[in-house]
Every structure is written in structure tokens, then in C-alpha cells.
Symmetry: C2
Subunit: 309 residues, 2 copies
């Protein structure tokens, strides 16, 4: 790191730098979705409109930022990074659409807008999620994402694993079970590692894959992802208790109403927040071997507990 470079502390204390990175990534993601989801001139218009409603404008775009930040470590081409970031956001958006369905969380508001089944209808919401799910893999498989087929196929394998029954979908199934079973802290931790952790892990893994880092060299990034992912979820649980619907852009107080065990119900608010802070410190410590090229990842870790939405 050059002597006049920013220290970790500087970057973490400078949300303006992170803020502009978030804004830039958010604008790029919107632009990508706008091109990707051009409405065809046939009876599929409503499907595409629903996909656009869910995908464009809104959301923290935390996962795309993590992909870009991980790619920065290994000087990965920005366009390749953005395409993979768009793919992961397709998966995230599809999961939100399905999660909001009446038979799941039954939410009316998401990212400050009506949920897809509210703005359109349930059948269209199911299909819009399914379609975005497929589009994610279409993007990853396309040779304009990365010239090397070994890189593309590893991205596909990792994303499928992270979003399937051994990852996100499995975590959501555990979340359903949490409504009727009393989970202890290790089980809630495992639930969240699957439900949100696996996809956040993929964001970091994707940077390493595109940076041609072999699996045995990804330990620190995986550890960072694990800690940031858990901290993120603890803060989500805290916002569900402490936040308001207007700021978070979604309904709050849902976990308590559903009687679900969460980090907050098991630890209490104060210990939950301490745990999140400890995890973020620990996440940043995993990056000690990197120089200022990891400053964005450090800033993201700090943002995860400072955020109010």
C-alpha cells in the first residue's frame, strides 16, 4: 500500500466513497437490466413488464457491489464483473419475487414499490421469478461474459449450488420450517448461512474464479463472505425489530409476528448487535493480506452494520 494511500479506517469512515461506488453499481445494474429485458412485441409483454418492475430501480445492489469489489482484488475486466453481478442480481430478484408471494411471506411492498403479485398477479409473479432464474444462467453461459469456458462453467456450477437446495432454496425451506419448529442458535445460523450466506459467498467466489484463483487460495475470501453474510442477516433481523417500513422499503415486525426464532429473539437486541460488530471486525481481519485494492470490501463490511435499510 503506498504511504499516502487511505488506511482501512479512513475508508470505513468515508461512507461517501462507498456511497458513490454503490450508486455507480446501481446505475450500471439498471442499465444492464434495461437492455437485457427489452419488452418484446408479443403476448409476453406482461411477463417482461413484471421482470422489469422487480429488477429495475431499487434495492441496495449489495451483491453486485460485492462481485465488483471481489473482482477489483484480481483486476478482473469491469464488463465481465458487471455481467456476473447482473446474473447474481437476477437470482436475488427472483428469490424476492417468490418470497413475497401470498403462500410465502405474503408481502405487499418491496423496495418501496408494490410487490410483483400486487402490481401484476400471482401467476405472472411465479413466471417472472422463474424467467429471471433462467436468465441468470443464460448470462453466465454467454461467451461475452468470459472468454474462458472453464471460468464460465465454474461460475454456473457455483451459482447453481449456491441457489439450489444445498443453498438459498434449502435455506428458505428451513425458514418455512422455522414457523412451526423452535430452532436453536446453531440451527438459525445454519439456516441463514444457506438462505443468504450461500449467495453472498458466491459473490466473492465469483471474483476469485474470474481472477483465476484456485479453490485452495480462496479461504480468506470465503471466511470474509461467511462473516459478512451472517452480520448482514443479524442486521436484517435487527431492522425487522427496530426499523420502519418507510426507510427499509418493506414490511417490518414480521419475524416476531410469525413466532420465528431469529438472532434477535435468541440473543436479544444488544448481544445481536455486538455479535454483528464482532463479525464485521473479523471479516475485515481476513483481508489483512490485501492492500488498498481491498478497501471497497472493507467499506462494504462496515456498511453492512451501519445501514438502515
Amino acid at each position: 500500500m503506498p504511504a499516502d494511500g487511505p488506511s482501512d479506517g479512513d475508508v470505513i469512515d468515508t461512507p461517501a466513497g462507498l456511497g458513490s461506488a454503490l450508486e455507480r453499481v446501481a446505475a450500471e445494474i439498471d442499465r444492464h437490466f434495461d437492455l437485457l429485458l427489452e419488452v418484446p412485441d408479443d403476448a409476453r409483454g406482461r411477463l417482461y413488464a413484471a421482470m422489469r418492475h422487480a429488477a429495475i430501480g431499487g434495492g441496495k445492489r449489495l451483491r453486485p457491489l460485492l462481485v465488483c469489489a471481489a473482482c477489483d482484488l484480481f483486476h478482473v475486466d469491469r464488463m465481465a464483473a458487471m455481467r456476473v453481478a447482473t446474473a447474481i442480481e437476477c437470482i436475488h430478484v427472483y428469490s424476492l419475487i417468490h418470497d413475497d408471494l401470498p403462500c410465502m411471506d405474503d408481502d405487499d411492498v418491496r423496495r418501496g414499490k408494490p410487490t410483483v403479485h400486487k402490481a401484476f398477479d400471482e401467476a405472472t409473479a411465479v413466471l417472472a421469478g422463474d424467467a429471471l432464474h433462467a436468465v441468470a444462467f443464460e448470462i453466465l453461459a454467454d461467451d461475452s461474459t468470459h472468454a474462458d469456458p472453464f471460468v464460465r462453467i465454474e461460475l454456473v456450477a457455483e451459482l447453481a449450488r449456491a441457489s439450489g437446495p444445498a443453498g438459498m432454496a434449502g435455506g428458505q425451506a428451513m425458514d418455512l420450517a422455522a414457523e412451526t419448529e423452535s430452532f436453536d442458535l446453531p440451527t438459525v445460523t445454519r439456516l441463514q448461512q444457506l438462505k443468504t450466506g450461500a449467495l453472498i459467498g458466491f459473490c466473492l467466489e465469483a471474483g476469485a474464479i474470474m481472477g483465476h484463483v484456485p479453490p485452495e487460495g480462496r479461504g480468506r475470501l470465503r471466511a470474509y463472505a461467511r462473516d459478512v453474510g451472517l452480520a448482514f442477516q443479524i442486521v436484517d433481523d435487527l431492522l425487522d425489530v427496530e426499523g420502519d417500513a418507510e426507510t427499509t422499503g418493506k414490511a417490518v415486525g414480521k419475524d416476531a409476528a410469525a413466532g420465528k426464532a431469529t438472532f434477535v429473539s435468541l440473543l436479544g437486541q444488544e448481544r445481536a448487535r455486538q455479535q454483528a460488530e464482532m463479525l464485521v471486525e473479523q471479516a475485515i481481519s481476513h483481508l489483512a493480506g490485501f492492500g488498498q485494492e481491498a478497501d471497497l470490501l472493507r467499506a462494504v463490511a462496515a456498511y453492512v452494520i451501519e445501514r438502515d435499510r
Copy 2:
């Protein structure tokens, strides 16, 4: 073709040969799903049980058979063919689970069993479909499916396209629109080419991809798939009018009740059947350049109009 080999006519007139091929593929698919969907000893048990309920035991396994038959043309390794066949069946089963949901077709019976949302619940049905969707890509990306990453990534790209908004999901969106709009014959044809044709096309394309046939050499197989896919759908429409629920294993009379334009409502039963027969003849004619290695594909084409479920 050896002098004592079966002629095309022999094979088509010998449903026993096709019957045993179908039975063998069905048994292999069940065995693959049984291994693939081993129930984990945690709170995801219900999700896996739902996936197994939908995936194992039942169904014609027409798509896996088509993959195997296409692979036969190019002497593709049987294990590779079966893995791709399992992946495509994952996509087909996920689409049936979501299609049967109350907000979509609202069906109670599928393959002679209660649909997933009936045997389990709606939320689990949404997740089981989503999980199988991801598993399909996990299978294709795995290097035990095919050693060549170029082959695997092309399979992923084609399956994502065939199942996404430009394929199956797009066709289902048009199908929703068909409930309120009056579609003409070209539009219904286009709808069905997306809804069922794209995935059937992938089955043939997969054989060509694994057989290292370049895209410009796949014209006849694509033409075969297009004709067989349309004939298949016309027969589906006929079975919805003429069939009974016990034999077909699903509810009948749904299209007329929903007031949807179908091949049968637009052409009448007699002309629809004639059209299906013409398409099957035409499909078989596209295989004229092949010898007895294409006999199974010829038999499948004939089966498509002879079937009663």
C-alpha cells in the same frame, strides 16, 4: 443398415421396442433422482420429500427418451446422456409443479398423484420447483456429465435459453394471456413452440452438442424437433378434449373451460388429428439421412400421436 436390420416401418409398428426403451429410461431416471435427491437429515427434509414426490415415479419420460435417442445418433456415452436427460427432466418437473399451482392451472392431480401443493403446501411447491430448476444447471455444469467444458457450457446456454423468457417461461406467459385474448392459429403455434417446443428442441440439440455436431449441421434434428413438438402439443389438446382423467393422470377439459384457443378449438378435432399425423410423417422424413441408429427417434415420433396419456 444391415440387410437383416429392422426397417423403419418395423420399428414404428413395434411399440414393444419403444415400450421397453421407455421403461428402461424411466427406470434409469428414477434411479438418478433417487440418488440425486437423497433426503438430508435436517429441516430441509420436507423440501426434498416434495422434490422426490414430483420427480420420482410417473410421467412418460418422453424428454429423457428423446435425449437418449438423439445421443444414439452420435454414439454419445450413455452415462453422459442420462445425466443430461435427468437435467432436462428436472426442468420439466419444476415447470409442472409451478404450472399446477392454484394461481396458475390450479390442478389437484398430476401423473395420477396429488400435485405437490396438495400433497405438501403451496410454499413448499414453489420452493421445490425453484430447487429443481437450480439442480438442472448443477447437473449440466458438473464435470462428471461431460469432460469437455465447451460441451457443458453450450448445454447450459441452450437449456437456459429454452427454459427462460424466450422459451418455456415465455410460452407460459403467452398461455396466461390466452385466457383473456383470442389467439389465432399462428399465435397459438408460436405459443406452443415456446411453451413445449423449446424444451423438446433442447433434447435433440443436446444430443448434437454432445456428439460434437456444429450448429450448422443440426438443421434436420431441429426440424424433427419442431414437428414432433407441435404434433405432441396437438395431441395434448386432443387428449384434453377426448381423453379421460384416469388414463391421462391429470384433469381434462380444462382448455375449453378456460375458453382458451387451442389447435383443437381452432381446427376442430378431425383436422387437428390430420395435422398431427402430417407433422409426424414430416418429422420422420427429416431423418431420411440416418440409418437404423435413428429408429428410436422414428418410433418416438409415431408414439407421440398414438399415445393416450
